[in-house]
Subunit: 367 residues, 4 copies
């Protein structure tokens, strides 16, 4: 059954494989009138592009996007926006050997079980390059959010044992940091840590935090389509993510109610605020006007150079060493993917949220 | 927009409010031929029933379910199964005062923002009693899974600071434990902890772990409808959940690839296994035949007796004490809700998973 | 797979069988703030109630509706509205014989093929009484449309050979006509025709026309979700409907372009109009501001007293006579069902239509 | 909101404009293991290609399709299949004048109303060329159906006043007939009629009939997702279609029950058949094993050379003559579009139909 389509009102449909012709996404449900050209998409794609850090020996790809439809004279028309990024630097020979066995930590085995066989070249559809489609769509979602005064910002919160206290950081720092860390000192230590592990032919994981500012109140649908539930799915659907938290997340399990509840209070302008934000901006599945805060746990890159035990298709237990172009860490490049999935989800929910009140609907159609 | 409907092939549609006539669920997409009667549903509802522990002064409710459609001569007919549980012990007077202010940690404010007003009696639609509908549907899902040899089991893994090592536990213990803990000693300590906090008019949180055994390989849909993504949404949609992990979850962020990858190996019967299960039974969003393992962080009950600061609708900052029938802990009663959401999701995905391979489809229709 | 749920933004989920406990519908996605009580629903249900015409020996049912959720202090709350109509006059003995054979023109055989067995009592889920759920939901949709200045009106256009020219009719006449015909003379002739056929233990069919006034322009989604496509599905999903036309429908097949195209023109107030309306108010799948006009062909009641050839489950070809309480015509009672399905669809599309233009979305959220 | 995506289990997502870069479709949910290459798609596209008849002065396009993903070593992999057809013969100058006014019978006005402006070049998204995407996807659906022994065949049943009695025809004739008519004599008369109307700078309409053979029983979902309802939507979503009938369609309105009911009977091999097929192969929304028969009314081409009255954007009533490359008839080229939409819908429903019976599901997963 179909699984490469996401969204209800703002819907993206993605396709592509690591060593096929390329990747693409069709965005259906983008409203008319948004100024859009390829350069806006390219800014986002650049942030996930491989081969930008020194420890990476990654595949070099331009990842140049082309918009094929849905834009006329510089504005979206309201009809589907098709975008494509052609693969250029496929080297299938790198991967021919992995056809015969199941790489640990990868989807080789499960794809074989599900489909009977697989496109083994570079992981086929399960390759991390699949996120190109998400990021291209995310760039459009972010552009819509910007028009509504909403910003989605993610950064690398931890790499291995190095963790950042965001309170002491400046967002600007992460945007130019090779590890997307807003703390230059932590970034240097993390870099050192990665290089060590890389030397050991190993890889490392980390945590990404995402912060949404400017979110209106009242967005999210009870009961099953709570905003936090939707964000959890959106972020957990990214390949290497193994956990998602909203607000204080797993910490709340050790709290008491008096510690965890966020008091409401009016400020001097009689605007209602929460004095704390343990809840991460969502109450009962609906945005409360505070910052939305979520974190994702990213596993270490599964492809490592070290010898690993595994099994092949000839019923043999073997030892393998995975060679090829692999980052020792996924986290920094996944930052923009998290932003994209959050942005896409927020746009979808903002659109759905327009029908909550009858008087607003009447007003909308009265003219 | 609609948010009380869940699923794609096996779809549940829920309704009800804390102080309305009752709660219900329509299950559409249940296959024909499943033996079903009310007693099966009642077993599950009993596990989430209020007022079963000594520290609870909770509302007493029988929560008796009635099946109104979709079953004929003891078997499901394939058409929608409507189930209803009437409320009996509503005491609206308890709640009339909370109409005027926003309870911290509750959805009062966000419902007002979304809908313009709210059914303030007992939280209306945002009440935890909403999970009755989930559990009634979950009981049907569990019955289907049983026919396929699949078991979903959840338990209380931690309460406040008390955590269980499941390796040393026996599942049977949790089923009769008032806190749903499989470790009697831990359960006693947890009980002590809860009583302390209750005396302080406070509440506590915890963690629920859910384990699925017997799951076939190959279930889950790339890219957005990964099985873990779906489970994350399913579980995060439960009211008090603030975090969801699959397998080793947030721990993986501190791991290296060589620590985290699960080696494949054939056993003596040439059956392919994973030697470890850090991944929690899902690779690339698709079940790998190992146990599926997930955890949910449950926040402490938001309703506490202690004085709390908050705001009312008259633009005043006030102090409130919430009286009424409130559990000091949600965790034990949420265990069966987690099981239910997981079961419903698995059935939905098993059904969707029938169309992955053309030869299996041809075989299905050839007769 | 699920098939009793309809809609995307305004979603109805229905259940019930002819001889079960009753029928119901859950309406999810109704905006908050709509004044609603049971009497409004009852007005619609009364129009489809059995046993109201003299030729009918139909089952008598009060079809009294109860709203179980989603309404608080007389207003919808934005959460699911559950409605129920209990069956009162089931007489299962009437139907026990039909368990053994397949009634011509009914779904007995196809239900058995699909599900392996069936609830044979009165057709079970395939009974025409299923439309109770549609009409209850339709009443809510109509109430929303009314707030937006939109009216959906259907009437009996033909019965057997008797056809009405609506240009010469007055809408008011049909509302009190037992056959829902706006032409009293035609109604009398139709009545005569029905009585004749009834005497012959036969049944008759007809055509229903539905006219929507006050529809805003710009509603409908290209390409697959054209408004006319959605209406076609909505109406064709009603049990006895075998054809659906928009505007001039099948007549256009014999036309030329110059005959069929509707010229645009400004009226004296510089308002753009179409000078004719062959298109039936929809161009390119999007409402053009003219009246939306559609027609549905309704087959003669399948249950007739005449001897009919058919087959039983014992592999025998037999002759049967269907006794019981059957209308000789479905058309007049289906009028309100057509209205309901059209109203539900229009509400769903009006809600979806709010996200076509970015500037309108920005305006909506700006405050 | 999104409207260019179709299907639930077998989902197609389409994009493209008449004078953009091209057209495309992403097919998500195609099972793994189907042999597929571009030549199979090309066969279908060729049938809808413009410029193949003598009366047409249509735009010449190769409409060459490229498969970009989802196929590996000649077999579908189960992941999204992206297909693209580049536009080659856009001549935007032809269309620049139509930017200023609303063509009668076209979607110019409604697109402007919905989106605020439009891509006016050749109708943009509302161009008939949009059906390229449907046909490319339809070719895949047809290939799946073939594996299941199901054939979808459509032909031109009438053009203007010339109608065919299919009983006297041979399917083979239509496949090579320029008008897709299986009756060579009727085809010649129709051709004559078209040429006459073309000379008058006018256009003509017609009726397409579609026949499905080999359909298993039991496919279709009550209540709203009846197979006939789905087919009605599928076919009505094709641009020029104004009416859809199943089986005897509008004729049944004039029938009696005894004329219209199809008797069941066992044949000599004790196989259950219907002795007639007025119902068109669907009872209660579920396939009954007979041929599925439907018809679509196609309006005359809206673009005609004759002077027509209309309005421009400067608030003026004007007279226009539409020049350019327009077929005087859409019907023959729409035949394969009808087949495609029917095939796509049947595949989607066959996939959904696999979960009706619990024992079949158990059997599927037992191994």
């Amino acid at each position: 059954m179909s699984g490469s389509i996401y969204g209800k009102s703002f819907v993206i449909s993605t396709w592509g494989e690591s060593h096929g012709d390329g990747y693409g996404v069709v965005v259906d449900g983008c409203p008319a009138g948004l100024p859009l050209d390829e350069s806006q998409i390219q800014v986002y794609l650049k942030r996930r592009k491989p081969g930008q850090t020194k420890y990476a020996t990654s595949r070099k790809e331009d990842d140049e996007v082309k918009i094929l439809s849905g834009v006329f004279e510089g504005l979206t028309t309201g009809t589907p926006i098709s975008m494509i990024v052609f693969n250029k630097n496929q080297r299938s020979s790198d991967y021919s050997d992995i056809a015969s066995y199941y790489r640990p930590g990868h989807a080789d085995y499960t794809y074989d079980q599900k489909y009977g066989f697989r496109d083994y070249r570079g992981g086929g559809r399960s390759s991390g390059r699949e996120t190109i489609s998400r990021v291209a769509a995310g760039a459009i979602a972010a552009a819509i959010l910007k028009e509504l005064g909403i910003t989605v910002y993610a950064y690398t919160k931890s790499i291995g044992p190095i963790t950042i206290d965001y309170q002491n950081c400046r967002k600007e720092h992460s945007l130019n940091d090779p590890l997307s860390m807003p703390d230059p000192d932590a970034s240097q230590r993390a870099e050192q840590y990665i290089l060590e592990k890389k030397e050991e032919q190993d890889s490392v994981g980390g945590v990404i935090e995402c912060i949404v500012t400017g979110m209106p109140t009242g967005i999210g649908e009870p009961v099953f389509d709570k905003l936090d539930a939707a964000l959890a799915k959106a972020v957990m659907s990214i390949g290497a993510v193994k956990g998602v938290e909203i607000g204080d997340g797993f910490e709340v399990a050790k709290r008491t109610g008096s510690q965890n509840n966020d008091p409401f209070a009016y400020d001097n302008d009689k605007k209602l605020l929460k004095l704390t934000n343990h809840a991460g901006g969502i109450l009962g599945g609906i945005s409360d006007g505070s910052e939305i805060i979520l974190r994702a746990a990213i596993k270490p890159t599964a492809s490592i150079g070290r010898p690993q035990r595994t099994a092949n298709k000839e019923n043999e237990n073997i030892e393998v060493q995975i060679v090829g172009r692999h980052d020792p860490i996924i986290v920094p490049r996944a930052v923009v993917v998290v932003e994209s999935m959050v942005a896409i989800t927020l746009v979808d929910y903002l659109f759905q949220g327009m029908t909550s009140k009858l008087d607003k609907i009447i007003e909308f159609y009265k003219q």
